[in-house]
């Protein structure tokens, strides 16, 4: 397997310092958004997708597993949270828990099935599993088929924070994003993360060293799926609906695209990639199907010319890991 990133060495204090500085900058920049007049809805949406992309990146960038079905976690958590909020009238915090737990359960099952094959088969299996779920949601009564679940009440988080206020909702989403981001960062730099990287580089050797690589991959898959689900649950409060779009394979493709544009296996790449792709969709919304064509062109250009992605190129230029 060819290395996708240069960061095979254990993390150095300098790299850690750089990354914490960039993280601090990102957190400050995101925190002042409500005071800048930027449309908060756009940033919130981008943050949710950034989190999904980061979760996806945990698998591909550090475990070498290309999941083409991450939309299933986004969509499943979305539907379950939406149902819990609207039909069961649960408070927001429990709604998020229900959605995330559903994604967790789904990841346990789908992970168990899909890690049984490697490489390209893994991608095809995840894609097929997400298509299976798509058809289930298309027919299941609680998802309301083509209409989706709409008009979801936002409620008060912990009975205090009124999520129908855009600024409050923004900071809640931001807190969720930053917390999950730190969790992923911590995972990557943990002994567990090091084993994952070794599996990416050479699975046979990792096995010969005595690691039960299947268990590591399964655990990484569960973590990734659960975090993607958490993002899906947050997104319900932003979009106030849950629909089939979020489970469709095109959504899985977009998640892949975001990560690829930002840089596979980079820490901040998926965040940058998500903002770029969501911004592009906003500005090009009037062009109809040409958006799909442009996305395809970006895919092709990234693979042929630009494999490191935006952050990967920047990191390469400064000879740092980001």
């Amino acid at each position: 397997m060819t290395a996708m990133t240069d960061d095979t060495l254990p993390i150095t204090p300098r790299a850690m310092r750089d990354e914490m500085i960039v993280f601090g900058l990102m957190a400050v920049l995101l925190a002042i958004v409500p005071f800048t007049g930027i449309y908060p809805f756009f940033v919130m949406q981008a943050l949710c997708f950034a989190l999904v992309a980061c979760a996806f990146n945990l698998l591909i960038g550090y475990g070498g597993l290309l999941s083409f079905g991450h939309a299933m976690f986004l969509g499943t958590a979305g539907y379950c949270s939406a149902h819990a909020l609207k039909v069961w009238n649960l408070p927001p915090e429990l709604g998020i828990v229900v959605g995330t737990a559903a994604a967790f359960a789904l990841a346990i099952v789908t992970g168990y099935v899909s890690i049984r094959r490697q490489g390209i088969y893994f991608s095809m299996i995840t894609l097929a599993l997400s298509q299976l779920l798509y058809f289930i949601y298309l027919q299941a009564p609680f998802t309301h088929g083509e209409d989706g679940i709409q008009g979801i009440p936002q409620g008060r988080l912990f009975g205090v924070f009124d999520l129908s206020q855009p600024t409050i909702l923004y900071y809640v989403v931001l807190a969720g994003f930053l917390g999950a981001f730190l969790l992923i960062y911590r995972t990557i730099n943990s002994p567990f993360g090091e084993v994952l990287k070794s599996i990416r580089e050479n699975e046979q050797r990792a096995i010969s060293l005595g690691y039960k690589t299947d268990q590591y991959k399964w655990l990484a898959f569960i973590l990734s799926g659960t975090l993607a689900g958490f993002a899906g649950a947050l997104k319900v409060f932003v979009a106030q609906n849950a629909s089939l779009t979020d489970v469709h394979w095109t959504m899985s493709g977009e998640i892949v695209l975001m990560t690829l544009v930002g840089g596979l296996g980079t820490i901040f790449g998926p965040v940058v990639g998500a903002f770029v792709i969501i911004a592009m969709q906003q500005y090009l919304a009037g062009f109809g199907q040409w958006v799909t064509v442009i996305q395809g062109v970006i895919f092709v250009a990234c693979v042929l010319l630009f494999r490191r992605g935006i952050i990967g190129e920047v990191a390469h230029y400064f000879k740092r890991s980001l």
Binding site: M1, T2, M4, L127, Q131, L132, W290, V291, F299, V303
Partner: protein, 287 residues
């Protein structure tokens, strides 16, 4: 019983498409080490070329069966020469990503000009009508699709497993460097193989045009089912791809009769079961 036989026939037809498409995927994967995500889009192009031939040039179905795979095959070879060949030596996943991008481009362009609705393509005169077989009524065109696909599949099998060219191809799959040392132009063989695989997809597209109408997204969902077929059957064996393709089509058809709610999902469920029982797929080499 009539309905059961009818669904069985539909299953056999879908099975023909699964077989033709998974066969192409397997052949391409063997030589290029790429899973061709654009396969569904090229299948769609095959149907569209037949549509253009008929409506712009008045060229009939029979010529389309020959010309459309050639046109799409050449288009595929251009893609291989200009893009896919640069991926040699890189991780498999880049091939998947690149061809996914190509699929988005091709489908997006067609959607722009033709929307999402279907264009009609009529059954050629010679294949109209039907036969009463006693136990069921067989529309001739549908019977033709099944028989013709089976013949094409077996011919491809023969080409690869029983001819000298096929022997080169199998040898190049195993060890391209060594085969090159024997003076065989492997890069050209790779290009031709991609053309062949893509041509099979286009052929399936022409065959399906009179049955399923010609739509820009006709291949988008189909390719995902074919991926599941490939996971079930494995890509190690040509005959395995053919048999798995037809068998899954029939199972899907039976499901439509006995439990229609599950007809969309049965192939995926079977994939899960196969992975649980025999992770390497039915025809078995590990990936």
């Amino acid at each position: 019983m009539q309905a059961l036989y009818a669904q069985l026939l539909v299953g056999l037809i879908n099975g023909s498409f699964y077989a033709l498409l998974s066969l192409g995927l397997a052949v391409i994967f063997g030589m290029l080490n790429i899973i061709n995500f654009a396969h569904g889009a090229l299948y769609m192009m095959g149907a569209f070329v037949a549509y253009f031939l008929l409506n712009l040039f008045g060229i009939n179905y029979w010529w389309a069966l020959l010309i459309s795979p050639l046109v799409v095959g050449i288009f595929g070879m251009i893609l291989e020469r200009t893009m896919l060949k640069w991926l040699t030596g890189l991780d498999h996943l880049y091939g998947l990503l690149l061809t996914f991008g190509l699929a988005l481009i091709i489908q997006g362009v067609f959607q722009n000009y033709f929307g999402s609705s279907g264009l009609p393509y009529s059954i050629p005169d010679q294949l109209r009508g039907g036969m009463n077989l006693g136990f069921m009524f067989l529309p001739i065109y549908r019977g033709w699709v099944v028989v013709f696909s089976l013949v094409v599949c077996l011919a491809t099998w023969f080409l690869i497993e029983r001819t000298r060219l096929g022997a080169y191809l199998r040898a190049a799959t195993e060890n391209p460097t060594l085969v090159r040392a024997f003076g065989i132009n492997v890069p050209r063989m790779i290009t031709l193989t991609y053309g062949l695989g893509v041509g099979l997809a286009a052929l399936a597209g022409v065959l399906s045009a009179p049955i399923n109408q010609v739509r820009p997204l006709m291949g988008a969902d189909l390719i995902i089912v074919v991926f599941a077929v490939v996971v079930i059957g494995g890509m190690g064996s040509i005959m395995g791809s053919i048999i798995t393709g037809f068998a899954l089509g029939v199972i899907e058809g039976l499901t439509k009769y006995f439990y229609p709610e599950a007809s969309n999902t049965v192939v995926f469920v079977l994939m899960v079961l196969v992975l649980l029982v025999k992770p390497t797929g039915l025809t078995g080499r590990a990936a």
